[in-house]
Symmetry: C2
Subunit: 445 residues, 2 copies
Amino acid sequence: MSISTQAPTGFRDFFGDEAMLRHETIEKIRRVYESFGFTHLETPALERLEILQGSGGGENEKLIFKVLKRGDKLREELAKIAESNDAARDSEAAIAEYGLRFDLTVPLSRIVSEYRGEILFPFKACHIGPVWRAERAQKGRFREFIQADADIVGSKSWGADVEVIQAGVSAVYATGASGFILKINHRAWLRAALLKEGVSEARHLDFLIALDKKDKLDVGHVRKELEGISGKSLSLAMEKILAGDLTLREAETLDEASGHELSQVIQTLSQLGLPLEDIVFDPSLARGLGYYTGCIFELRHATEGFSFGGGGRYDQLIGRFSKESLPAVGFSIGFDRLMLLLSAQKKDGILKNNSLFMPLFNQELLPAVLKIAKRLREQSIQVDVFPEAAKLKNQFKFADARHYRWALIVGEDELKSGLLKLKDMRSGAEETLDELAVAGRIKSL
Amino acid sequence: MSISTQAPTGFRDFFGDEAMLRHETIEKIRRVYESFGFTHLETPALERLEILQGSGGGENEKLIFKVLKRGDKLREELAKIAESNDAARDSEAAIAEYGLRFDLTVPLSRIVSEYRGEILFPFKACHIGPVWRAERAQKGRFREFIQADADIVGSKSWGADVEVIQAGVSAVYATGASGFILKINHRAWLRAALLKEGVSEARHLDFLIALDKKDKLDVGHVRKELEGISGKSLSLAMEKILAGDLTLREAETLDEASGHELSQVIQTLSQLGLPLEDIVFDPSLARGLGYYTGCIFELRHATEGFSFGGGGRYDQLIGRFSKESLPAVGFSIGFDRLMLLLSAQKKDGILKNNSLFMPLFNQELLPAVLKIAKRLREQSIQVDVFPEAAKLKNQFKFADARHYRWALIVGEDELKSGLLKLKDMRSGAEETLDELAVAGRIKSL
């Protein structure tokens, strides 16, 4: 039987230049977060299902990859199903205990509750890692993807909102991507508008999720769905929200506190001189997660349209796990979409100037070649030794495909004389030099 | 109902200095691997169960976390179990499709088969990431842990064996850990010895797994188990192997080719002057994985005993997925055990010299403070702004606990005069300077 060696549907493999670029890009994001004083956070891939479910994760909660119980625990549950003669709806819950995390915010909230006594507040944490969602497979949508989050927990100040937005935006631009618009809105303000519209609190999230479809569906369709939820025609104010036509001043009349906070955040961000194309108050921006309570924001590309990151304030989420709640705000970068954008902005082949390729002329030379390579690495030169005495043509083909520019030639003659040859594989030029001079020469090039 | 906020059993949360140290240590390992020309590899957390099972993963295959099928697929299987009136042994197989990877070697082998036409050989890959095993929970044993592997695929040369060992050993020492012994053996040689002992090929792996217990159980117990497998008393040669008493020369008489290869690897490694305490031929080193075919090796701590890494040559594993096999050899660092060792070798508190803490005196100053922070970050200074105007005593307590040394004081007076105060929180000394001079001053300190 032949086994498929493809990655599971919606999952991906990365190697070579692409994998290297991914890693370098993650490190660029991390260094920006660190420059703001965010400290690292690392949490498990698996969480108890009770942590993941009912977290306000909205649609994401339906997309959890669940992990099977094991051993006796599992056998007991399977026996119960077999005895019951009925594959009850809750059998799924009985045979699974853990799930793969679908975001990094729920684990952060769990951690803050668990280690509340040890953590120093405000807790500024950066959390970068894969999350998993059993999405329907489609182009540009993956079941495993990386999020890069910066959160501040323990401060109600709008300064924290500005800092996470600034950190997120700076990190995205640090990767080399550009051309973004920041959209901002406020949940407390939206809440006031919805109450005024006569939408019951229980239906707020449904209303917001419907409103959020505005970018994908035509306005008529969205209006119909909204009216279905509110049970009547939209008011003039709601029509203006749907059209994105409401001004910040009009918004303030609906809820002064949140409107004022929103103004301050937008104004401060504008003054900071971020490289954004624009900072826009968008009264129809809803973000479909149940846990947001204050400012919400989204980073969209001016011409590509898609969202490349976003977040908001979630002052109640941590209260799910603790007696007291703690205010929190975070920005999450959609790393994989960013990588698609970066690879679309194609670059020239990477020529490795600070690296050396060492071909192997015959197997007996291996100990001597490995020793020279070791001494060069100790001087911070990257050295790639070809591990066997293959045809020289093939060895140089390898070096070329790996983008090496410099080859260090160490044959029997070179070892006898102590004079090695440094070859520029781009020009074909060779120079002869003492081993001790090699590292300095490479660094000077 | 109160929800437990602990990480699942055997899983861990990391934050603050510990998380930072973990990340820095991973990057040190990665940089050493890169200095040898290993390129990055990134593979999914989930693999098809058919890839993970029957991979020669030995005991690890019993420890797979399986992921439940979803939706209709799952409902059908559950209905079948309910109808069958019998929780058959294979129901577990029917309801799960994927599993979490238990090592990084099996995914690497899959990748090499899948992308054989695109990959340049020899394929030197470094692969760093978490793996999952449903181990019985006990001290120092985790269900999620990080492996850091370097592999060379596509070369039979013992030069590749030397390179992965050298890269692995150098990477471990680059983290700051020290005091290791490298043990080496060879599977082809062991195979010859086992055949001579009259152990049938089908029982070789059982015999090796029993031999591998030598470090944990007393010799008498191991001997009994070995004799149970071979069905007779151990020969004098096998007694010498069990006692670790056999010389390399005696080993060569059992299988000349592998014995000679082993000699060359040991000799070359010795000549390279690695920082190891010792390089030892250990005829009883077995490593319990089915897929090894050539050199096997293990990095043990001279005084702590434990294994901190190891690997070997696996020339047949890739053939499971492809028509042709490809020779391969790899070294895997047990990152989490290494972290335990590093934290035992305790360090002084990290004082952040190149970072600045900015307290906030009142909320109105926030825009001005954020602007100064942004300009300083643009000059590569890490700046941690306190996001709200809390009690100053608490703000400085925060700065102290986060190990900051320098505070930049920006109050109303400082903004008016344009002269800021730089405070050394260790000595209490203050100096007054222009904003433009701050970055230079910090860097000069």
